[in-house]
């Protein structure tokens, strides 16, 4: 039992460290090489945990080797487009100028149902509105509409808009975030005044309080406290 306990901790920390080094992309969209490594690592790590007769080294060593390979391959991909194309493939245009490229559909083994599902997911029901539908190397389908079908922007309509800026969280679940308070040029006295204006006696009674660069405050009291 004790061995299993410590082995699990060691594998867990190693996996966390490995995934951290692989970067945030690993958590979202996966390229082919990343997917292979993620699937492999999860399987390799499980064996020494389940069977204490297998040396932990048999689990750790492959994780380290895969991590090194991934770091090297991702470095090469960043440096060379040719290598990226070779390892990850290249984007495919499934729809061009409102016409489905059937050869590309076959080549990428995408069925019409799958394409329709993806388009519905992006609220596009009419294929003739699509200028390009691009199947990215990580499997996402990106759609570019014809310019006449794109929603007009405030700039195109020449409408003045106000930039509300980035909201800074000042109180997070009953705790003041001093760094953010300082960043938005406020102090504790200002905060006390804001709280007393809202009849709040204790910071712990605030679930969320944020302020944006135009000075707008969002305030939410903790449920059941007010």
């Amino acid at each position: 039992m004790l061995i299993v306990f410590f082995r699990t901790l060691i594998i867990y920390v190693s996996l966390l460290f490995a995934m951290r080094l692989m970067g945030k992309r690993q958590l979202g969209e996966l390229e082919l090489s990343e997917l292979v490594i993620t699937v492999l690592i999860s399987d390799i790590a499980a064996h020494p945990l389940q069977d204490i007769g297998i040396p932990l080294m048999n689990g750790l060593l492959p994780i380290i080797i895969l991590l090194c390979c991934e770091l090297i391959i991702s470095g090469v991909i960043v440096k060379s487009n040719r290598a990226k194309e070779f390892i990850c493939g290249k984007p495919s245009f499934l729809i061009v100028d409102g016409t489905i490229d059937q050869q590309q559909m076959k080549k990428n083994r995408v069925t019409l149902d799958e394409l329709a599902e993806e388009l519905r997911g992006q609220s596009v029901l009419d294929i003739s509105r699509i200028k390009y539908a691009i199947l990215e190397t990580d499997g996402r389908l990106n759609i570019v509409l014809f310019p006449s079908e794109r929603p007009a922007t405030a700039g195109q309509l020449q409408v003045q808009t106000q930039d509300s800026g980035y909201p800074m969280i000042i109180i997070n679940n009953g705790k003041i975030v001093p760094k953010n308070l300082l960043l938005c040029g406020k102090d504790e006295a200002w905060l006390d005044k804001q709280l007393s204006d809202r009849q709040v006696k204790n910071v712990r009674d605030v679930y969320l309080m944020s302020i944006n660069s135009s000075g707008q405050i969002y305030f939410a009291a903790t449920e059941g406290k007010q």
Binding site: L21, G53, I54, P55, L61, I65, C68, L71, G75
Partner: protein, 125 residues
């Protein structure tokens, strides 16, 4: 670039350590297997005590290597080899007829450890 260089260096170091591990295990098991071969020769010459001493020396060498072998080898392999040592020692000390194959089986098991670790098409596939 720094990360990639560190990864490549780490990968090469691991490769180096793996090669060293195979050589180290080969050397170590060869010493242990030689001792068993010596025990077999002595036993064939009728020196049961000398043979038992040689097997015991080899067994002590094997047991002394346990912490390293537990990190590198499957525990079932280690247990099976230790059992084979004690079985042979028992047979030799009992004074009964011991077939040559019993010595051969133990040395084969020792050499098999390195065989599995060494680079060969069989081990790879």
């Amino acid at each position: 670039m720094k990360r990639e260089i560190i990864a490549a260096a780490l990968l090469l170091s691991l490769l180096g350590l793996s090669i060293f591990n195979v050589h180290y295990m080969g050397k170590k098991t060869a010493i242990l297997a030689d001792e068993i071969d010596k025990a077999q020769t002595l036993f064939m010459d009728g020196d049961t005590v000398g043979a038992a001493t040689c097997i015991e020396n080899s067994l002590q060498g094997w047991l002394g290597w346990e912490s390293y072998s537990h990190i590198m080898l499957r525990h079932s392999e280690i247990d099976s080899l230790t059992d084979a040592y004690y079985a042979l020692l028992d047979e030799v000390q009992s004074g009964n007829e011991v077939p040559e194959a019993a010595f051969g089986a133990l040395t084969e098991k020792l050499r098999d450890i390195v065989g599995k670790e060494g680079m060969s098409v069989g081990a790879l596939l």
